[in-house]
Symmetry: C2
Subunit: 734 residues, 2 copies
C-alpha cells in the first residue's frame, strides 16, 4: 500500500510555507524609499490592519454562533459527528490567516516596489512578483497543511467500522469538508466586506475626485485616496487570498470525498485510499512545480515590457506543462485504477481553465474588438456605454459555459471509463478536473496577487511625487498584472463551477451518512425495491427522495437558487452604492470645509475616509453573508432534500453565468476607459472619456464585489447544505 506517498502532501506544504517565509524576509530587506513613501505606506498599512481587525471581530461572532449550532447538533442531537465544530473553526482560521499574511506582505511590499521601480522596471517586477508569490505559496501551503493535519488526526482517531471498512474514509472525508465550510464562510465575509470596502472607496474617490474636481487618480489632494489604496489591499489581496484558499481546499476535499464515496460498499479499501489521496497528491506536486515556475520568472536587467510579460508567461506555462507530465507520473506510481483516463481528466480541467482565461482576455482586453467597440460606444454618451457593456458581458458567458460543459462531459466520461452509468467515478472525474485546474495555484495566484501590489506602488509613487517615469513603470507593472490576472480569474471561476458539482455529489454522500447516524439501514424505493443504505447508488438516493425534475419541490428549489444569486448580487451592489454615497458626501464636505486642499496647502483628513469605508463595509456585509448561510438551511427545513438539491443546482447554474457576466462586463468597462486614456476616440478629458468613466465606475462593484462573491456563494451554499444534511434528513423523517 502506497501510504508513504501521502507524506508528499505535508512536505510540499511545508516547502511552500518555508519559501514564502524566505521571499517575505527578502522583500523586507529592501528599502521603503523616502520618508514620504514610508509615511504613506504606513497610513495604508494601518488602515488595512484596522479594517481587518474589525472584520475578524464580526466574523468571530458569526463563527461563535455557528460553532454553537454545530455543537448542539453534534453533542446534543447526534446530527453531526463530534469533530465538525473544531474542523469548521480551523478552516475559518486558516482562510483568514491566508488573507492576513498575504495582506501584511502586500502592505509592506508596495512602497518597496515603488522604490525598486525608481531603479528599473525589472527590479520593480522582482519585488512585486516575489511578494505576490508569498501570498500564492501561503495559500497553497496552509491549505495542504490543514488538509494533512486533519487527515492524519482523523485517520488516527476514527475507528474503522468492522462491518463496512470502506465507511471510515467516507466519514473522514466528509468531516474534512466541514473545514471547507469554515473556509467558505470566512472567504465570503472577506470577499463581500473587502469588496464593499474597496469599491466604496474607489467609486467615492473617482466620482468626486476625477469627475467633479478633475484631479487625477491617487492624487494626494483627494481625501479618499488612502482609503482607495487600503481597499486594494483588503479587497483584492485579503479577500482574494481567503477566496482562493477556499477554492483550493474545497476542490481537493470535495474530490477526496467523492473518491471515498466511489468505493463505498466495496472491499477494495486500498483503491479507496488511493482515490482519496490522488487529488491531494496532484495538489502537492503542483506546489513543487509552481515553485519551479516562480523561479523561472527572471529577466535580464534591461528587460522591456514585452520581455517581462514573456517571462511571466514562461513561468506559468512551464508549471502547466510540467503538471500534465507529473500527473500521469504520480497517478501511475500511485497505481490508481484507470489512471490514464483520470490523468486526462486533469488535463481537461487545465485546458478548460485556459480557455476561460483566454475568453476573458478576449472580451475584456483593449487589444481586442469587443472592448474597443465598447469604448467607441462612448461617442453617444454614458447610456450607450452601459447598454453595450451589459450586452458584451452577457454575450461573453457563451464560451466559458461551452468550455465548462465540454469539461464536465469529458472529465466525467473519461473517469467513468467511458460508461455514463458509472456515476460515482464520473463525478470523481469532474472533481479531479477542478483540482487539475487549481493545481498550479501557487504561481497563478502569484501573478494575480502582484497586481494590487503594483497598483498600490503606483498610488504610493503618485502621492510621494516620484515623477512620471516611476509612475509609468508601476503602471506598466499594473497592466502586466491585468493580462495575467485574466487567466487566473478563468481558473477561479471555472473551478467554482466544477467544485460546485462535486460538492453536490458530496451532499448526497452526507445524506447517506446522516441516515446511518440516525440508525436507518434500508431504503425503501418507490418502485418497491429495498436497498441497503450503504450499497444504494446515487440514482437510488434520487429515487428515494424523489429528486426528479418533475418534483415541484425540486423546481421550486431551482427558482429559489436562481433568485439567491440575483438577490445576493443586488444586495452587494446596493451596499456599494450606499457606502460610496457616504464617501462622496465626506469628500465633498472636506473639499468644502477644509480650505486649501485643492491647492495642496492643507492635508485632507484621510483617516475619516478610511473609517467611513470600514464602517460601511462592516454594516453592509452581514446581511447578504448571513442570507447565504440561512437559505440552504431554510430550504432544507421547508422543502427537504429535493428542495436543497434544486436550490444548489439553480444557484450553481445561474450563479456561474451571472458571475461571468458581471466579471467580464466590469473588466471590459475598466479597459474601455483605459483604451480611451491611451489616446483613442478623443483621449483623456473628452466627452467620450467621461462616458467610459461612468462605465468603469459601474463596473467596479460588478467585477470586484458582486461577481467574485458569487463564486463563493455557490460553494458556501453547498457547504452549508452538506454540514446541515443531518438536520435536513432528521427533520424529513420527523
Amino acid at each position: 500500500m502506497e501510504t508513504y506517498l501521502f507524506w508528499i502532501v505535508p512536505i510540499a506544504s511545508l516547502l511552500a510555507l518555508a519559501l514564502a517565509w524566505y521571499f517575505y524576509k527578502q522583500m523586507m530587506l529592501e528599502s521603503e524609499g523616502t520618508p514620504t513613501m514610508e509615511k504613506i505606506a504606513l497610513y495604508v498599512r494601518q488602515g488595512a490592519m484596522s479594517y481587518l481587525k474589525q472584520q475578524y471581530k464580526v466574523v468571530g461572532w458569526v463563527f461563535l454562533g455557528l460553532v454553537l449550532l454545530f455543537s448542539i447538533m453534534a453533542y446534543g442531537f447526534n446530527l453531526q459527528n463530534p469533530w465538525v465544530p473544531v474542523a469548521f473553526l480551523t478552516g475559518g482560521f486558516f482562510s483568514g490567516l491566508s488573507g492576513f499574511l498575504g495582506m501584511k506582505t502586500a502592505t509592506y511590499a508596495s512602497a518597496r516596489t515603488a522604490n525598486a521601480a525608481r531603479n528599473s522596471l525589472n527590479k520593480g517586477l522582482r519585488v512585486a512578483f516575489r511578494s505576490g508569490a508569498v501570498m500564492g505559496l501561503v495559500v497553497v501551503g496552509l491549505g495542504l497543511l490543514d488538509i494533512s493535519f486533519w487527515y492524519i488526526l482523523l485517520d488516527y482517531c476514527i475507528p474503522a467500522d468492522a462491518m463496512n471498512p470502506s465507511a471510515k474514509l467516507c466519514v473522514i472525508t466528509t468531516t474534512m469538508l466541514t473545514f471547507g465550510m469554515g473556509a467558505s464562510t470566512q472567504a465570503l465575509f472577506a470577499r463581500v466586506g473587502g469588496g464593499i470596502y474597496t469599491k466604496a472607496a474607489d467609486v467615492g474617490a473617482d466620482l468626486v475626485g476625477k469627475v467633479e474636481a478633475g484631479i487625477p487618480e491617487d492624487d494626494p489632494r483627494n481625501p479618499a485616496t488612502i482609503a482607495d489604496n487600503v481597499g486594494d489591499n483588503v479587497g483584492d489581496v485579503a479577500g482574494m487570498g481567503a477566496d482562493l484558499y477556499e477554492s483550493y481546499c474545497g476542490s481537493i476535499l470535495a474530490t477526496a470525498a467523492l473518491g471515498a464515496a466511489a468505493f463505498i460498499g466495496s472491499d477494495d479499501t486500498v483503491m479507496q485510499f488511493k482515490a482519496v489521496i490522488a487529488p491531494m497528491l496532484i495538489a502537492a506536486v503542483g506546489i513543487v512545480l509552481s515553485i519551479i515556475g516562480i523561479f523561472a520568472v527572471r529577466t535580464k536587467e534591461d528587460a522591456g515590457m514585452k520581455e517581462l510579460l514573456g517571462s511571466l508567461a514562461t513561468g506559468t506555462n512551464l508549471s502547466s506543462v510540467l503538471i500534465v507530465v507529473a500527473t500521469f507520473l504520480i497517478l501511475w506510481i500511485l497505481g490508481l485504477e484507470n489512471w490514464v483516463n483520470i490523468s486526462f481528466a486533469v488535463v481537461v480541467g487545465l485546458i478548460v481553465g485556459i480557455v476561460i482565461g483566454r475568453s476573458t482576455e478576449y472580451y475584456t482586453s483593449q487589444s481586442y474588438k469587443p472592448t474597443q467597440r465598447l469604448a467607441e460606444s462612448g461617442k453617444t454618451g454614458p447610456a450607450t456605454v452601459i447598454i453595450s457593456g451589459i450586452g458584451l458581458g452577457m454575450i461573453s458567458t457563451t464560451i466559458p459555459v461551452l468550455a465548462v460543459v465540454t469539461g464536465i462531459i469529458l472529465s466525467y466520461w473519461l473517469a467513468s471509463g467511458f460508461d455514463f452509468a458509472n456515476i460515482s467515478m464520473g463525478l470523481y472525474g469532474i472533481g479531479i478536473a477542478a483540482v487539475g485546474m487549481l493545481s498550479t495555484l501557487g504561481i497563478t495566484l502569484a501573478t494575480d496577487a502582484y497586481g494590487p501590489i503594483a497598483d498600490n506602488a503606483g498610488g504610493n509613487a503618485e502621492m510621494s511625487g516620484l515623477g512620471k517615469e516611476v509612475r509609468k513603470r508601476t503602471d506598466a507593472l499594473d497592466s502586466l498584472g491585468n493580462t495575467t490576472a485574466a487567466t487566473g480569474k478563468g481558473f477561479a471561476i471555472g473551478s467554482a463551477a466544477l467544485t460546485g458539482l462535486a460538492l453536490l455529489a458530496s451532499y448526497v454522500e452526507e445524506i447517506r451518512i446522516g441516515l446511518t447516524r440516525l440508525g436507518q439501514t434500508l431504503l425503501e424505493l418507490p418502485n418497491g425495491i429495498t436497498v441497503d443504505v450503504h450499497n444504494a447508488s446515487f440514482t437510488d438516493y434520487m429515487l428515494y427522495y424523489d429528486v426528479t425534475l418533475m418534483n415541484p419541490k425540486v423546481l421550486s428549489g431551482m427558482f429559489l437558487g436562481s433568485m439567491m444569486a440575483f438577490l445576493f448580487c443586488g444586495l452587494t451592489m446596493n451596499a456599494v452604492g450606499r457606502a460610496a454615497a457616504h464617501m462622496v458626501e465626506e469628500v465633498r464636505r472636506q473639499f468644502r470645509e477644509i480650505k486649501g486642499i485643492l491647492t495642496g496647502e492643507a492635508e485632507p483628513d484621510y483617516a475619516r475616509c478610511v473609517q467611513i469605508s470600514t464602517k460601511g463595509a462592516q454594516r453592509e456585509m452581514v446581511f447578504p453573508s448571513l442570507l447565504a448561510i440561512i437559505a440552504p438551511i431554510a430550504t432544507g427545513l421547508i422543502f427537504g432534500v429535493p428542495g436543497v438539491i434544486g436550490l444548489l443546482i439553480g444557484g450553481l447554474s445561474s450563479g456561474f453565468v451571472l458571475a461571468i457576466f458581471m466579471a467580464n462586463a466590469g473588466g471590459a468597462w475598466d479597459n474601455a476607459k483605459k483604451f480611451i486614456e491611451e489616446g483613442n476616440f478623443g483621449g483623456k478629458g473628452s466627452e467620450v472619456h467621461k462616458a467610459t468613466v461612468t462605465g468603469d465606475t459601474v463596473g467596479d462593484p460588478f467585477k470586484d464585489t458582486s461577481g467574485p462573491s458569487l463564486n463563493i456563494l455557490i460553494k458556501l451554499m453547498s457547504m452549508v447544505a452538506i454540514v446541515m444534511a443531518g438536520l435536513t434528513v432528521a427533520w424529513s423523517l420527523f
Copy 2:
C-alpha cells in the same frame, strides 16, 4: 357526457370578436381632429404598417423553412404527425393577426384620443380604453377561435385507438401544442423586432434630442420623433399582442395536454375529456367576465384622475372576483374530478399574478421608497443611478420568485389531491393556475394596450401643438396606464413561469408519443423493471432516460439553459445599442445638414429615421430569434432527452429571474426620472435629472426589448423541444 359545454368556447370567442369589431367601428366614428393631427397620425400609421410588412416578410421565410422541416419530419420520416405543419402555420398566422389588428386599431385611435382629450379627460379615456379593449378582445377571441377550430377538426379526423381509447385526446392536444409553437415563433420575432425598433428610435431620439439639443420629448423638430411613435405601436402594441396571444394559447394548450396525459392508460375517457376542456372553459368564461368588466369601466363626465383610476380598477377587480365564483361553478357543472381543489388552484394562480403585479408596482412606482431612493442616487451622478437600479432590479426578484414558488407548490398540492406522488394531476394543477392567471386577459390586456395609445396621443398632441392642457390630459392617461400595466406585466411574467413548467411536462408526454410512433411499446428501466410505454409514469420516463440531477448531460443542459437566457439578452441589448447608434448619427446629421430644423423653419426628414429603425430591427432580430429555435434542437441531438430537459429547466429558472430583474430595473429607472421631473431633487434640467435620464435610457432595452422577449424565449424553447421530440427520440435510438 357534458359535450355541449364545449360549445361555450367557440361562442365566447365569437362574442369577443364581435365586440372588438363594434368597438373598432365606434372608435372610427370619432374625428381625428385638425389636419396636422391627421397628417401626423398618417405618418405614424404608414411607418408602422410598412415596418410590419417588412417583419412579416422575414418571418414568412423562417416559417417557410420550418414548415418544410416539419413536413419532411412528418411525411418523410414519420417523426411527427401529419397535422403539425398546418397547425404550426395557423398559430403563427393568428398570432401575427392579433398584433396586426391591435396595431391597426392603435394607429387609428391615437389622434382620435388626442382629439377627444381636447374635450375632456373622460372622453380621452373612453376612446383610448375602448381601443385597447379591441386588442384585448381580438387576442382572446382569436386564441379561443383557433383552439376550438383545431379541437373540432382533429376530433373529427383522428380515429380513436381501439387498443387505448385514452390515446386519442393525447394526440389531439399535443398536435395542438404545435400551433402554440407557431404562435411563439411569431411572438418572438414580433417582440424582438418590435422591441429593437422601438428602443432604437426611443434611445436615439432621447440621446440627441433631450440630452444634446435640449428639446422636449415628442418635439416635432426631432427627426426621430415619428420613428419613436411608430416604435410604440410596433413594439408595445403589435409585439405585446403577439406575445400575449402566445401566452394565452400556450397556457391553455399545455394544460389541456396535461389533462389528457393525466388520464392516459385509464379507461375513464369521459373524465379525460373533462380535464382537457376545463382550461378552455375557464378561458371562455373569462372572456364573458372580461366583457362585463370592460363595460363596468365608465365614469361621470367631469371625472378626475382619481375617479378614472378607480373606474379602471373596478373593471379589472370585478372581472377577477367574478372569475373566482364562475370557476367553481363551471367546474362543478362540468363534474371534473376533484373540482373544488382545482378551482382553488385557479384562485392560487390569480393571487400569484396579483402579488407579482403589486410587487412590480412597489419596486417601480415613484410612489414608493425604492424608486424614490433610486432617484435620489442621481445626486452622485449617472454611475450611482445605474448601480442602484441594477441593485434594485436584482433585489426585486425576491417576491415574484417566492410568489411563484408558493403558487407551484400550492396548485400542485391542491390538484394532486394533497398527494405529492400524484405527479400528473399535480402538474395539471400548475397549468390550471397559469390559465387562471390569464383568464381575464381580455380586460387586463385592454388596460395594458391603451397605455401606448395614450402615449401616442400625447405625441400627436405635442407635434400638432395642441397646447399644454391637452398634453397634460394625455400624460395623465399615460401614467394611469402605467399603474394598471404593472399588474398586467405581473400576470404575463408569472404565467410564463407556470406555463413553462406545464410545457416541460408536455415534453415528456410528447416523448411517449414519439416512442409509440417509432413502434416502441416497452420501456426497460435501469432497475430491471419493464413497463408499457403507455402506462409508464413520469418517474419511469425520468429513469428510462436517466434524467436525474447527477447526470452530467442534465447538468450541462442546465448550464446551457442559463447561458441561453443571458446570451439572448446580450444579443438583443447589443442590437438596440447598435441600432440606436445609427439613429443618433442620423439625427445629428440632420441637425447639422438640414438648416433651420431647430428653429422650426424646416421640416426634418422623418421618413429616413423610420427607415433606419426598420432596417436595424430587421437585421438584428434574425440571429437571436433563430438561436432560440436552434438551441433546443442542437442540445437534443448532442445530449439527448436529459440534455433538453436540463436546457429547458435551466433556461426557465434563470430566464424567469433575469426577466423580472430587467423589467423592474427598467421600470424603476423610467419612473425615477419621472419622479425628478415632478420637481424632486432639483427637477427637470438639473444634474440629477440628467443622471436619471441616463438610467431611463439604459432601462429602455431592459424593460421593452430584452426583458419581455425572455418570457417568450422560455416558452419557445419548450415548444421547439416538444415539436422536435420525435427527432430527439429517434436520434437517441439511432
